[in-house]
């Protein structure tokens, strides 16, 4: 069995195991996520493979990233879930859904078959609905309901797009699974009917764009991030958004392979700019810390979409690096905010303040994560945004006109929020406690990784990045 299959199977079995045998579920969850690091590393070391699950230079780093963030979230969850006070039934559904979500997400990242990809994303949606709504408070139920309805809507549109692509490919591909294989479709795209490809891509973009949190169908994202438990917010931002973005990129690659079809870049740039600008303005008016980070995810997905829309080796590399850096920093910020909200007993920004003074390791970690998210050097996003600006200046200088102010406004909003949260006089703790390694370890690991990919990207990874960017149009 390939490493990819093993990875998905591991999480699937884990989901079944945790559903059936909930004793010591949090620890078991952590062990499963730790075990998953092995096949993920194997995939990263030697991407390849045939069949439905197929790792390549594009998705292998994302699989590793997902495994790392998943492990971090499970570690964080170990302590955090105690503070939730869940009963046994909810603990069981929470942990089983966590494993199920990871399985679906890895399958979505690795799948070459668009049908399987869609099934995986839908399964991931169902699992995350369970996790988002686990608090059972009215606000959590509303968030889960909105998530469910909007994403159900989105993936329905996406499936229509996939069906249209299959229709476009039917005359050129042999009967059977090949008709939905992204690689086969891409190879045959040049001969397909461009009108069908256009129709399919538009639905794919809107559909998976909903899952990726792109404006205009973004409104589930802040609520889902704010109302679910913190580890869920971390995996939603760090894993799910990337998987949805990769799904869009697969569609883009197919359509771009046909000369006569519309050029998908313009759509991505338009949606990306809309997301960036709307989020940049909205970020200033946030009062809830986790919602703030949710809106920041919309912003960063927008930035990545712009980068992929610009395309070319430079734009694609910037987009990929941005997705990596965002996943690491955003999950780090969620770990820190989650811990802080637990300490203060409240996740409103008014209630959290002066973390750097009262809880230095936690507070300074949050300072770094948010500064990184704001695009300050030296963490990953600075580099990718720099590359993006360079790519834009070369390919489409007009994009710079809205892009740079957008980056500035959003970055300043995050810095402003960071100042309120971390610097200044501390607010009183509701439940004082030491900074536990279960929070600090994933937090600082992610920060260190973000630093590494920015300053000293190891040569094999850099090669993968270049190769992955080359796989995209």
């Amino acid at each position: 069995m390939s490493a990819a299959g093993a990875l998905v199977l591991l999480h699937l079995l884990g989901a079944g195991l945790l559903a059936a045998w909930p004793a010591r579920a949090a620890l078991l969850n952590l062990l499963l996520c730790g075990a998953a690091l092995v096949p993920a590393a194997m995939i990263l070391a030697a991407p390849g493979g045939e069949g439905w699950l197929r790792a390549d230079a594009l998705n292998a780093p994302f699989v590793m990233l997902s495994a790392i963030i998943g492990f971090g979230a499970a570690l964080f969850s170990l302590e955090d879930v105690r503070g939730e006070g869940f009963d046994a039934r909810r603990l069981r559904s929470y942990h089983a859904a966590f494993q199920g979500f990871l399985a679906a997400n890895h399958a979505a990242l690795l799948s070459d078959n668009l049908g399987i990809l869609w099934v995986a994303i839908e399964a991931g949606t169902l699992a995350s609905v369970v996790m988002v709504g686990v608090h059972r408070t009215p606000a959590a139920i509303e968030a889960a309901w909105k998530f469910f309805v909007l994403c159900g809507f989105g993936i329905a549109l996406a499936l229509f797009g996939i069906i249209v692509l299959a229709l476009a490919g039917a005359p050129h591909l042999p009967e059977g699974g090949a008709r939905l294989s992204a690689a086969a479709l891409r190879a045959a795209a040049a001969r397909m009917d461009p009108a069908l490809l256009d129709l399919g891509f538009v639905f794919l973009l809107v559909g998976f764009g909903t899952k990726a949190g792109l404006v205009p169908l973004h409104s589930w994202l802040p609520d889902a991030h704010a109302e679910g438990p913190t580890p869920i917010a971390a995996v939603l931002s760090g894993l799910l958004l990337n998987a949805a973005m990769l799904a869009i990129l697969r569609g883009q690659a197919i359509v771009a392979a046909n000369e006569a079809a519309l050029s998908p870049g313009g759509f991505l740039i338009a949606m990306g700019l809309a997301s960036l600008l709307l989020a940049g303005v909205t970020l200033w008016r946030r009062r809830d810390a986790k919602r703030l980070l949710g809106w920041s995810s919309i912003e960063h997905m927008g930035i990545a979409a712009i980068a992929f829309g610009l395309g070319g080796p430079a734009g694609n590399a910037a987009g990929l690096l941005h997705l990596w850096g965002h996943a690491l920093l955003k999950s780090a910020a969620f770990f820190a905010i989650g811990r802080a909200a637990r300490l203060k007993g409240d996740q409103r920004m008014d209630a959290i303040g002066g973390l750097a003074r009262s809880h230095p390791p936690l507070g300074w970690g949050l300072v770094l994560a948010m500064a990184g998210l704001a695009g300050l050097p030296p963490l990953g996003l600075f580099v990718s945004e720099w590359w993006l600006a360079g790519a834009a200046a070369q390919a489409a200088p007009w994009v710079l006109a809205p892009l740079l102010p957008g980056l500035l406004v959003a970055g300043l909003a995050l810095l402003h929020a960071m100042q309120r949260l971390c610097l200044g006089p501390p607010t009183p703790d509701a439940a004082p406690g030491p900074a536990r390694p279960s929070t600090l370890l994933p937090l600082w690991t992610n920060l260190a990784l973000a630093l590494v990919i920015a300053l000293a990207l190891p040569a094999p990874l850099a090669a993968l990045l270049r190769e992955g960017a080359g796989l995209l149009p």
Partner: protein, 223 residues
């Protein structure tokens, strides 16, 4: 290939058109029981359309799809939804879609949009697939419209189900579409409905109402 005026085409067109009509009925229905009835009818029509496509294309697996559609969408899900609707207090069994005329005008506009999009775009495709794609797109958009215009949780689930019906209609129309998708779709839709049911029940217990508008008050923060 079957063409205009031939039986294979005409029956496909007839069944698709009937499904589209049921979508309109769904949009206009006030009572939840009538909504579930219309859903069941659409499910049965979908099953017939799938079976017919299976017959015309000579694809046996589509008959299986038809069977699943008949069992799940024609019978199972509507029954469950009806039971859930019946459990509601009488005042909430009717879900007013608001003023009907704008909704209907919007629906007609969406259908026109769907046809104007799909008919030219599918020029190169086989005729049978083109009919199904165009009508499926219209059904999909009408389902979306229903989800937008309804506040009740059950009615929104019904809108989602209509969208799925449209999807399956599109999938069966494409000759040689691998079967995997249909079976998993059918299975997943069931799960979707079950989860939605759990939700609806929770909402019902917590608020004594299914109206998702009530939830707006509990929004953590105004956007």
């Amino acid at each position: 290939m079957t063409g205009l005026g031939e039986l294979g085409y005409d029956v496909a067109h007839l069944l698709g058109g009937a499904m589209l009509l049921v979508s309109f009925v769904l949009l206009a229905q006030r009572r939840l029981e009538a909504v579930t009835g219309a859903l069941a009818l659409q499910g049965v029509l979908l099953a017939l359309a799938a079976a017919w496509q299976g017959h015309v294309q000579g694809a046996g697996q589509l008959l299986l799809t038809a069977g699943i559609a008949l069992a799940a969408k024609g019978v199972g899900i509507p029954l469950v939804l009806r039971r859930m609707a019946a459990a509601l207090p009488p005042a909430q069994r009717a879900d007013a879609p608001g003023p009907l005329a704008p909704v209907m005008l919007g629906a007609v506009a969406l259908v026109a949009l769907a046809f104007l999009l799909a008919v030219p775009a599918t020029r190169g495709a086989p005729v049978l697939a083109r009919v199904d794609i165009a009508i499926a797109l219209a059904i999909l958009l009408l389902g979306a419209l229903m989800m937008v215009t309804r506040r009740g949780a059950l009615a929104q689930v019904a809108g989602l189900l209509t969208m799925e019906n449209g999807l399956i209609l599109a999938a069966v129309g494409v000759a040689g579409m691998p079967l995997v998708v249909e079976i998993s779709t059918a299975g997943l839709v069931l799960v979707v409905a079950v989860i939605a049911g759990v939700f609806a029940r929770q909402l019902g217990e917590r608020f004594g109402a299914q109206d998702t508008a009530l939830l707006d008050r509990h929004r953590g923060e105004r956007r």
